[in-house]
Symmetry: D2
């Protein structure tokens, strides 16, 4: 519900951008996992601001404290709570936003829903909230890797109208991408020449006080067949929910996605065969790794659309809470493009979905 | 969980394609709604097979029986259970499918997950399951209309590469579509000339033993500001889950969607103004009706991608459960294109999402 | 929520006393169970009215129809829906109750909560609702027996102030009771001479137009250590909820219960030892089979208090919905004592709790 | 699930006795509540150790830090997270307990379930966990008081075989008890002479290295009719779960409880009347404030049984993890009787149950 995600591997997050801390509680984290704290920190670093000129210059050290659920480095099966203090904040910096509604932000909708809001840096609606998701997702990744050998990787596929030359639906191309390629540049696009063009476009937008959107591709390999709980908790349904729960997302597509709607059934169907080890496989994978909402053992892949960042420096018109029309020029630190920082967040949410389905299948499968 | 959808307005569905019945239970249906049974039947008729040559010729009368939760025509607040008997079934017709896995169907994944499956007509994985959703959605529609004046309408936007001339993102064009226009042709596309082209394409695919996919646009108007429960149960997250829980769906996008990723922030942001009645509104609506996962009072609109139907008559290669390669020619009744029948299903799921969020906001909003 | 019980082995029930049917849906019923329908029918028979002069003479054949989730006699992992038609009803018989609130019934509270109610035979508040629980519980019993060798038995321990000579807390005595002893008499008390006294007391109450209450003991053996999900879903917490969700219940106690509050810690603590097979056991079992909310492998036992039936024939004072004071003499069929029919219901709820915890532990335990 | 309580007013707790902190997250805390922090601290003080010689001498200052969900002293509708650092701990003090299972503690069951455990001071199974419940409950109390004028009070009714002279079922006597009377002595029994006897008995048990149990009465007034969600989430069912989720509880009874099973229906039924203001009331209240699981507007009252504390200093026999029989003499700080400290915890859980049902009824009632 609301600030909890998952049925069995359940994460509850909390925290406002300029409150004391952000954090979360994982209830249902399996016991006996030897946590690799450095790996969690690496994921936080990937999400962090101030990594490059492409992203917000808010400088948060993001020191993780684990409060419970771990004993002598090993998870105990009890709730694993963690927090990260908010340090680099200057609440007064937001005073000019207290009485107006920033365009395409949630200022107005929170006010309409709750009758009260923490306006400082967007409060709960800030992308800072995703810090908690990254921590929980990093733990889910470790669980999935140790329990089932699952590997999750995502990267920037497009920024504005600049698209990587690596196909987002061709399985051979998708499987060839490596983590090193993704991490080789600031934009996290494994196609180096496109990466450069993307960076240039973002830099230009930043100079114009404007922002850009784009798409991310995600891939998971090593999945056993059987994950997904139809009919409502199909794997792709839960993934779609996970992705659309991220700030700034506008779309989700799995396998052939929207493009696949232009194919015929005879082109789109993935023929089955049994390989020499007796494993059932498909020769193509337009399905994207699931059928009927359940993994078939093929790689899972999907794409997520992110709108251009709503916070821009260009002058904009809006209304005050008193109904007056005003002009607004943003002064806070912000990202001209959220895509590179969204990469680890997409991976984190993917891991949370898969960890949850893994446990559900353990209980409910044959 | 799994076969239950919603937190407060909760629907649990059951039933296999060739079992005795399909049906469901609505727990959390508000008391005091005078049910319009004819309106529910109309929705069932819209979903039903054998309406035109575009869809499966399975001829199910779909007689609805309400088993509980209604007294003297009025909902009582207790669980509203309903069922529809499966009548036109010939189980023996599926014997040839018992021992093989149809391409891009869930035969293999159900077997892998549960170790057992009802192979007759796809069992639980049949689109017949959506009958229950349509009934529950029709009741949710009545609740939303009476409680808040909400109206939900959807239509076919594209079939294969044939696209309606009505924009899927321009609010003026979206708001001009009427229910009569949608229901005026077999394909449920409000643009008559495109509708004809779509019908011709589907007819051709049917003759070739092939199938086509497409996209559906959905729109909801009359929504109050405040619906949606961030951070994980954002309205668009729940909608995305609802849509990707439907058979054959491959994608979801809200507002500007994937196309919006190519806009700049200054183009994409929706400026706020306060109208003469003191209502906060936006001049554009690239957001699609929500910000921060909460409705802002503007119309809600989104699109759903449906792959081409997996059941085709053309010869295909697959594997038997014993690992032998075989050729398969489908003999059952099926839809060369699910789009026209999917229209009421998309509306039903939209209604279920909105009814649930309406109740959640009643409890958790200011 | 509300009409759903369980997290993974989830049962949703529906139905009013004088509506078309009662029934339910089990979502999360594990696949591969070969259902013994005769055993389910036996449980329904035990719950059924008109078995003896001790209970209501409403004569319901209680024919069970399974609507989904079973294929060739085996559960498939998909929702298992079932219904039982209401047959012996005469709605007009309740017209005199339409406009008044029967003492200690839920007529008033349903009216206050929902603003509308089905007054016929108590509607949803009728004990007829428990029929659905018995069916679901019978299936849960079969699952528990086959998966883990669990056996559940309950019996009447007291009626009014007449108490069985078999201790409700002494483990040796509790373990000696057999199902045959319980079923040997109409009151389901395994102590034959006390059973006779109970039957005589109930018969006398019936003749006086009055009713009696009593207590039931329940016992489960064969449980593995590890069932229970602290801190809020402790096994005894879920059991207490299950029991207090039954009509007419007023109390629950596990192990030493209320009496145990008068013992000292040194008397009450259950010393551990490791037996020759290396199994950890306790020499006493005042705990009742759990510690910290988790089973320790010892027998589980607890007691449930049932108030005297609220429906009596004696004249009573109450108020009409219009605020007039009236005298009421019940005319419907009713039970002078619910205890014998409650025995299978207590067993059913115990089975539902244990089946759910069994699946939860499968997912969340080591 | 597990460490989360409630459907809408949801509390997730975390923390081990000797880990860095205990705390929790309230998701669903209504917006707009001006928090009285001093009142929360008062409740923490009531639960705290080292208040008197009757309770454990562990000296925890219990400083509360609120991490989110409150802005300028007012709740915002976003998750309200809080923590309390564990300060007075000496982990080494528990080394001798690492390899054995204390009688009637959860050492063995946690090991059996999770394969790993934090043995220091009982880890998650320590009553220190209830600190989080008290904080959340104090906030729920403030919500209930401001939204509906609800007042919750509980007190010690019996210690061992020493029972207060104030009836636990007579409504007049129950309603006469004041908070000042309860807080007037260390044992929190509003009957001063009995209180003295209780204190003497506990002191004697402490000197003997032994412990005592007892019962607590709880009362809630000012409740509107309509709270409770049948059939499974009846108010008394949720209360029973809440109480049996507390460490050391063995029983729950509402209204007439176990004693009421010895009454006849004509004695037990609560006659209705309509008072001069048109309010429906009952002349007696054996029901304890609910009928059919829904409040009827009368005071709610119930009792909870607590076993004697499992931690005693007397020598006891147990087994090591390696199967050796050993003698154990507890050295840690502990309570010879948990009853006085349990009073605020029972109130807290009552508040959590009522706050949740209040919100559920807001959404699902008429």
């Amino acid at each position: 519900m609301s600030n909890t995600f998952g049925e069995l591997f359940r994460v509850t997050t909390f925290g406002e951008s300029h409150g004391p801390a952000v954090g979360g509680v994982i209830d249902g984290c399996p016991p006996g996992i030897t946590l690799d704290l450095a790996a969690i920190t690496t994921e936080l670093e990937r999400r962090r601001t101030a990594q490059s000129k492409l992203v917000s210059q808010r400088n948060e050290p993001d020191e993780l404290e684990i409060l419970s659920g771990v004993f002598e480095g090993v998870t105990t099966g009890t709730p694993l709570a963690f927090l990260i203090r908010n340090k680099d904040h200057n609440p007064g910096a937001y005073d000019h936003l207290k009485d107006l509604y920033r365009p395409s932000h949630a200022d107005y909708t929170y006010q309409a829903k709750y009758g009260v809001r923490d306006h400082r840096g967007g409060g709960r609606t800030s992308a800072r909230e995703t810090t908690s998701r990254v921590v929980a997702g990093a733990i889910a990744k470790q669980f999935l890797a140790s329990a089932a050998g699952v590997d999750i990787l995502s990267w920037v596929h497009s920024v504005s109208n600049i698209e990587a030359s690596i196909s987002a639906t061709n399985q051979t191309e998708l499987l060839a991408v490596t983590r090193d390629q993704v991490e080789a540049n600031d934009i996290r696009c494994p196609d180096p020449s496109t990466a450069e063009a993307m960076i240039a476009a973002i830099d230009k937008a930043r100079q114009n006080g404007d922002s850009l959107g784009g798409t991310i591709v995600a891939r998971a390999t090593g999945l056993p067949a059987g994950l997904g709980e139809p009919v409502f908790d199909r794997l792709e349904a839960t993934l779609a929910k996970a992705m659309l729960s991220l700030p700034a997302t506008k779309g989700f597509e799995i396998g052939s996605g929207f493009t696949g709607t232009q194919m015929s059934g005879s082109e789109h169907n993935d023929p089955y065969f049994t390989d020499k080890d007796g494993i059932v496989k498909t020769t193509t994978n337009y399905s994207g790794g699931t059928q009927g909402g359940i993994t078939n053992g093929e790689p899972l892949y999907f794409r997520v659309a992110f709108k251009p960042t709503a916070t821009i420096s260009k002058k904009q018109t809006t209304t005050t809470v008193d109904g007056e029309s005003v002009e607004l020029e943003a002064k806070g630190r912000h990202d001209p493009c959220v895509l590179p920082r969204a990469v680890p967040i997409v991976e984190a949410m993917t891991a949370l979905v898969l960890a949850d389905h893994y446990l559900l299948n353990k209980a409910l499968g044959a």
